[in-house]
Chain length 383, copies 2
C-alpha cells in the first residue's frame, strides 16, 4: 500500500496552536501502530503571507496541496495585528479565500458536521433530553448561495443596487441528498452494531431506524426550494428504510433549540447549512468541541479538507488558551476517512476519537491550556 | 379625531381561534375606556376561499384593506383538509401569498419582533441569565432574498439549474438601519424611564446605553454584505450614543443560544431576519408567546400588519388548544402603534400588554385552552 500523506495547513490565530496538538497525537498514533502516514506543514498564515507576497496563498497552492491525501487545516482569518490599527488591512474576503478556494478547487461538495452532546461537553439547553442529541448536518458545499455571483450597481451612491445570485444545479442537489440518505443508512447500521436503536416515523405511519430531514425555505425561495423538494422526493424512493421529513429553515432553527434530539441526518444548502451547523455546534457543546470536514467522496484525486468549525479566534491567539478538542475530533474524523484505504488508519481514528471523548468526559469544566489538553490525550494514547 | 379602524383577517388553522380572543380583549378595552375604535372582519380562509374562487384572496383585497389603519392577522397556511389527501392541493406558495402581498403592497418595510423572556414563559436555555433576554430583532421586510426573482432552467431534467436572485437597494438598507438606531435610542429612553439601565461597550472603549448589532454574511455574500456594512458605518455616525456591533449570521445564531442577554437591537436582512426572529422567539418562550409586526413607519396611507410569529398550526386547529398569548401581545403592540395618534389607544395597548404578561406569570405551565386564557385576560381587563 502507498503511504498516506497529509498536508497540514495551520493558518492563522489559534490555528497553529491547535494544529500542533493534532500533529503530536498523529505522531503518537503513528509511532504506536507503525502507521504508514506522513505529513508536511504548509505555513501560510494569511496575514503574514499577504504582507510579504500580496496574496493569501502561493499561486500554486492548490497544485501543491492536491498531491496529498487530505488537508488538515487549523483556522483562517486574520484581521491584522491587534495593536496596530493601521495594519488592520486584511479583509475576511482575502484571508478566508483559501478556505473557499479549496472547497471549490477540490470540489469538496460535502460539508459534514456531526453534533452529539458528549459527556463532559457544555450543555446549553435546559432540557435533560439534550444528552440524546445525536445528529449529522450535511451541508451542500459547492454552489448555491456561495457562488459569488452578483455585484454593486451605482456603488456608494444613494441609488445603489447590490445583487447576489444563488445558483443551484440538479446534479449537485441530487448528489448531496443521496449522500444524506447513505449516511442515514450508515448511521442506522452503526447504531445496530453498537446495540443502540432509534425510531422515526414516516408520514404514512411506518417506523424506520433512521431519518433524513431536508431543510429549505421553499415557501419564500421557491425556485431552488421546489427543485430540492422534488429531488428529495424522487431519491427517497430508493431508501424506503429511511424516514423523510421536511423543515423550513426558520422552523428548523427553532426546533434545533426545542427538540434537537429528534433529528438524525439533516441536509441543507450551503448558507442554510452554514447557519444550522453553527447552531448544531452549540448544541453539542460549543465551538471548542465541534469538528467539521469538507469531503470529495467521488474523486480519489482530490484531497478532502478537515478543519474545526471554529475560526481563528484572534482575541485569544498566542496565549495557549484555545481548546484543541474540536481540532482533535476533526483529526480523528480525517483518519477515519483516510482509513477507507487502510484499516489500521481507520482504527487509529477511532482510537483518537475515543481518547478525546474520554478526556472530555473526565475533565468537564476544568480550565486547562491547549498544550495541557493535548498532552493528556497523547499520554492516554500511549498507554 | 377620526375613528381608528382595524381590519381583522383571521385566516387559517388556529388563526380564527386566537383572533377571536384578541377581538374580545379589544372589545373589553373599547367598552371600558370608550375608545374610538372599530373593526371589520375579513374571513378569507385561504383554502376555502381558494376552492370557491380560485384565488387566495379577493382580487381587490389590498384595496379593501388599505382603507384601514391596521390589519390584525391570525395566521395563514392551509394544506387542505387533513382527512382528505386528495384535497391536499394548496401549496404554501398560494396560501401564504397574501402575507407577502400585504408586506409588499403596503410597503411594510420593517418587521419587528421583540424577544423578552417574561416571567412564566418557558425557558429553553440552561443559563439563568436567560431571564435577562431583552432584545428587539428588526428584519428588513421589503426586498433582499424575498424578491422572488429567478427561475428553473431545464426544469425537471438532470441538467436543471435553479436560480434565485437577491436584490438589495441602498435606500431600503439605509432606512432599516436608521430605524434600528432610532429603536435603540427609544429603548434606552424607555429603560431610563423605568429606572433600568443597560451598558454596552463600543469598539473604542466608550460605554453606551444601547446597542445595534448588524447581522450579515459579508464574508461569503460580499456584495450586499459590504453595502450593508458601509451603510451601517455611515449611519452610526449620527448615533454616537449607540454602541455598534457586527456579527456574521452563523455566529449570531450561535450567540443567540450562548449569550442572548448580550443583545439589544439586532438588524438583519429579510431571510437572515426570518431565521433570527424564529430563534429569538424560542429564546423568549416559544411560538406561543412571540408577537410580530410588519410596519410601514413612513407612509400614513399604508396600514401596518400585526400577526403572531406562529403559523396556522393545522395539526391543532379547531380544538381550542392554541395559546392566544402571542396573538394578544401582537394586538397590544398594534394598539401601541395606533396610539401614536390617540394616547387613549396607546394606554390601552400598554394595559393589554400588562394583563397578558400578568396572566402568563401567574399561570406558568398550566394547561389551559384558547378560550380559557382569553377569558382570564378579559376578566383581568375589566377589573
Ligand atoms: C469563514 C466562512 C466563509 C465559512 C463559511 O461560511 O462557510 C465558515 O463560516 C464555515 O462555516 O466554515
Ligand atoms: C410564511 C413565511 C413566508 C414567512 C416568512 O418567511 O417571512 C414566515 O416565516 C414569517 O417569518 O413571517
Amino acid at each position: 500500500a502507498q503511504t498516506t500523506r497529509i498536508a497540514v495547513t495551520p493558518g492563522d490565530g489559534i490555528g497553529p496552536e491547535v494544529v500542533a496538538e493534532a500533529v503530536r497525537c498523529l505522531e503518537t498514533l503513528r509511532a504506536k501502530h507503525g502507521l504508514d502516514l506522513e505529513w508536511t506543514r504548509f505555513p501560510w498564515p494569511s496575514h503574514a503571507w499577504h504582507e510579504e507576497h500580496g496574496e493569501s496563498m502561493p499561486a500554486d497552492a492548490l497544485a501543491q496541496l492536491q498531491k496529498y491525501d487530505a488537508i488538515l487545516l487549523g483556522a483562517l482569518g486574520d484581521p491584522g495585528p491587534m495593536d496596530d490599527p493601521d495594519r488592520y488591512l486584511l479583509p475576511d474576503s482575502i484571508s478566508l479565500a483559501p478556505l473557499l478556494d479549496m472547497r471549490k478547487g477540490f470540489d469538496q461538495w460535502v460539508c459534514e458536521r456531526p453534533a452529539r452532546l458528549l459527556p463532559g461537553a457544555r450543555q446549553y439547553l435546559a432540557d435533560e433530553r439534550a444528552k440524546d442529541i445525536d445528529m449529522l448536518v450535511i451541508r451542500e458545499n459547492s454552489e448555491g448561495e456561495y457562488v459569488s455571483q452578483g455585484g454593486r450597481l451605482r456603488k456608494g451612491t444613494p441609488d445603489e443596487v447590490a445583487t447576489q445570485m444563488e445558483v443551484f444545479t440538479r446534479k449537485a442537489t441530487d448528489r448531496i441528498i443521496r449522500y444524506g440518505f447513505e449516511q442515514a443508512r450508515n448511521r442506522a447500521a452503526d447504531r445496530v452494531s453498537e446495540g443502540r436503536t432509534r425510531t422515526f416515523r414516516t408520514l404514512d405511519g411506518r417506523t424506520c431506524e433512521s431519518q433524513v430531514c431536508l431543510v429549505t425555505k421553499r415557501n419564500a425561495l421557491r425556485y431552488w426550494g421546489d427543485m430540492y423538494t422534488e429531488a428529495f422526493e424522487e431519491i427517497s424512493k430508493d431508501y424506503p428504510d429511511v424516514a423523510t421529513h421536511h423543515e423550513l429553515v426558520d422552523a428548523a432553527c427553532m426546533k434545533f433549540v426545542q427538540s434537537p434530539w429528534a433529528f438524525d441526518v439533516v441536509v441543507a444548502s450551503n448558507l442554510q447549512g452554514d447557519i444550522l451547523t453553527d447552531l448544531a455546534a452549540v448544541l453539542s457543546g460549543g465551538m471548542g468541541v465541534a469538528p467539521s470536514c469538507n469531503l470529495n467522496p467521488t474523486d480519489p484525486d482530490m484531497p478532502s479538507m478537515f478543519e474545526p468549525t471554529h475560526g481563528s479566534a484572534p482575541d485569544i491567539a498566542g496565549q495557549g488558551l484555545a481548546d484543541p478538542t474540536a481540532m482533535l475530533f476533526t483529526a480523528a474524523r480525517m483518519l477515519e476517512w483516510l482509513g477507507r484505504k487502510d484499516p489500521a488508519i481507520a482504527a487509529a481514528g477511532k482510537e483518537l476519537f475515543d481518547a478525546v471523548a474520554a478526556d472530555l468526559a473526565e475533565n468537564s469544566g476544568s480550565r486547562r491550556g491547549t498544550h495541557e489538553i493535548g498532552s493528556a490525550i497523547c499520554e492516554r494514547l500511549s498507554r
